[in-house]
Symmetry: C2
Subunit: 436 residues, 2 copies
């Protein structure tokens, strides 16, 4: 990475790795050491890369990093960005270097990847249940005294499984757990305070376990009625705070602080505001937000949600999209139809199809912005169907490039093992890797 | 691979590679050479693997390989299975060892992966347009005299780009191209015979290019009215045959044979039947079907379509599903709801959600089949929502395993870098890799 910080032995090994011909987006004719990408003088607009290609705009990443640091400072919140979004060691490192408290992850194998690349504090925002998953996590804790892991529990069965495993493994330090509070009809998490308290008491009483905090995920409360959503979000967050007080009153927490964590990428402003006021507890409360999509944002689902968040905060320049997928016009089979060499294998399609942003003819002065009359109407595995406005059918030829924004970074990152870092003029300055 | 053939230097390098902790589905606590997976005595039902984990049942792969070889022999068709489905060198190798004529692919980078792992004949069933893509393909042809590549064209612009590039590269052998015939309102391909003939004549006249055949993709004609679909499929295939005859009458074909290729995974029976009757041409016609999903089949979209295909052929044991994704019950937050540790990152969701097939409690005698009352109703990135029948809510606990079939192999394979090979009793015998 050229303008974002990097560090650690394993990260430098990524820079040194020999990329083989066949890596998507690179069009290599011979193996290339990854750190040499930045000195190839590639420019996407000159057609130097392979197509399709996934791009991260460095200036937008930098803006979003700065924005989030300022946000957290303003609200007294800590950031444990959800690493499952990118699963990119270089982007984990950039976020940690920017002041993130830790990295949030969803599975044991994701934790292993993060630990391998130097992440030292993980919030595993998920229940850990499978014996094999517990085994790999306990091994990480045993082998790396500096490695910190916090995980979730929402059932007495789950607590028992963890307690038994920790005891059997002879782990010398307690495993800190957060009780997950859930929402009726939604995902995991205790459905009532009574259930949550029973789990909390079981953790506090179990040998080898430690009650470290309370966790919830309000991000599932997205409907078409945002006012009602926000009411439910606030009520849920308040229930989490009440649970903290109840556990504290019973003396269930152990360790130097209480972790209180919520916050997907839609409502982390409400989370930070609600949790900022929690004082008077036996030990300090750490308010931890977990947005994963803030870093790259997008041109769809999360762009809209973070625009709303920005408006709630009174405006200003909010988060900006950093991730684009560029492809070639392979065919112009009908006047208003272009077939692009980009499909479900290359861009997310679960929260909206990609948005056509720019067209570019190689050799032209620069790309041309596309209005809403241009839209992707369908994708197959390897192709997208771009519909053109009837009065602009002469503007796009076979071989032209089309730059698309995406909706939902998580399901775009997982389609690329290498994403290219570009300047605003689409000069390629480096690359990041993903491990899915 | 234990019971499927393997070969080639690069494939043995895959066997020798050191897999790192963090590879999804393996739960490694230390690096492991891939070929050692088969001697670990892992059994999925004993919880020895990580979860989620993607499994290929070796006996079902073997059945499907045999089934397809017999099908092709019966119809005088050649098989160039679409490699984009699996992008797995070991599965390419198994199919070639089973008599496949070549491997079909969709992009230049996929061709590079296949060539790297020993594939020697590729049908690139797509237009090749980007200069960087053309460059890497011509380099493969120049560096490997034994490597054969056939690609598509559907426009005069496209033909010109290829002709210019081949001339500039000084390639000593002509680049063989197939004209793509398309379908109104669908993907790439010439919309009329007149357009297709113009492209065919341009190829025949261009220096460095050679007209090798006619290609089409009838697999886009899937609606809810199958009788009408089949009529359109047959008419489309007949138009392809007519195009062969017209090109042949004009003496446009070069090379020792004429390639005539269609066939996704839904209607390859019609393709084989229609193309079997093409005789009387100046040189032999090779009828090439391209199904990619026959190898693993699925428990959804393609299972239904190949069942219909089997009925059209008069019954018998058809293709069987070979691909399953197993995960753990992470949470039982409500009586009829279980949250599984498997999501959009692990299983396809574009042509139907996964189907819950089996539940298993570790230590129990064996897995229990689930009826249609059990169904996955939703997936997030890392979680699935399994709905239970009201009279069986006591049958599933936190920590139990659930085995799911999937719908659409292409968008499941691309979520795994390693898939495990299992016997019918879920003993793990080996692994295959994917390169997306």
């Amino acid at each position: 990475m050229t303008t974002l910080p990097t560090g650690g032995l394993a990260l430098s090994q990524l820079d040194e790795q020999l990329l083989q011909p066949g890596v998507k987006g690179l069009a290599l004719t011979a193996p290339l050491r990854q750190h040499m990408i930045g000195v190839q003088r590639w420019n996407v607009l000159a057609g130097d890369t392979g197509f399709p290609v996934a791009l991260l705009k460095t200036s937008s990443l930098r803006h979003n990093l700065d924005w989030m640091r300022a946000f957290c400072a303003r609200h007294g919140a800590l950031l444990a960005p959800h690493g499952k979004t990118t699963m990119s060691p270089q982007l984990f490192d950039a976020q940690l270097a920017n002041g993130a408290w830790g990295i949030t992850l969803a599975t044991a194998s994701q934790v292993q990847v993060a630990a391998r690349f130097g992440v030292r504090r993980v919030l595993l925002a998920n229940e850990v249940v499978a014996a094999s998953d517990i085994r790999v996590l306990l091994q990480l804790l045993r082998d790396n005294p500096a490695f910190e892991l916090f995980a979730l529990a929402d059932s007495l069965d789950g607590v028992q499984r963890l307690a038994d495993a920790v005891t059997a493994a002879g782990l010398r330090r307690p495993l800190p757990l957060l009780v997950e509070l859930g929402i009726a009809g939604k995902r995991a998490g205790c459905r009532t305070s009574d259930e949550a308290m029973a789990v909390a008491r079981a953790i506090a009483a179990a040998p080898g376990l430690q009650l470290a905090g309370i966790e919830g995920y309000e991000g599932l409360l997205v409907t078409t009625d945002r006012a009602a959503d926000l009411e439910r979000v606030d009520a849920f967050l308040q229930a989490m705070v009440d649970l903290v007080r109840q556990c504290d009153a019973e003396g269930l927490f152990a360790g130097p602080q209480i972790l209180l964590s919520a916050g997907g990428s839609s409502y982390f402003d409400r989370v930070a505001q609600c949790f900022a006021g929690v004082t008077g507890t036996s030990r300090p409360v750490l308010s931890i937000v977990r947005s994963g999509c803030y870093l790259t944002n997008d041109h769809g689902h999360y762009f809209e949600l973070t625009r709303e968040l920005d408006e709630r905060a009174g405006g200003g320049v909010g988060l900006v999209p950093a991730l684009e997928v560029w492809s070639t016009v392979l065919s112009r089979p009908e006047p208003t139809l272009a077939i692009l060499g980009m499909g479900k294998r290359d861009a997310s399609h679960d929260l909206g199809l990609p948005r056509a942003l720019l067209r570019h003819r190689i050799g032209a002065a620069g790309p041309v912005a596309l209005d809403d009359g241009w839209h992707i109407e369908k994708m197959n595995d390897q192709h997208a169907y771009l519909r053109l406005p009837e009065n602009e059918v002469d503007e796009l030829r076979v071989g032209d490039l089309v730059g698309c924004g995406i909706s939902h970074p998580c399901t775009t990152f997982d389609k690329w093992s290498v994403l290219l870092l570009v300047e605003d003029d689409y000069r390629v300055t480096g690359a990041v890797n993903t491990f899915f």
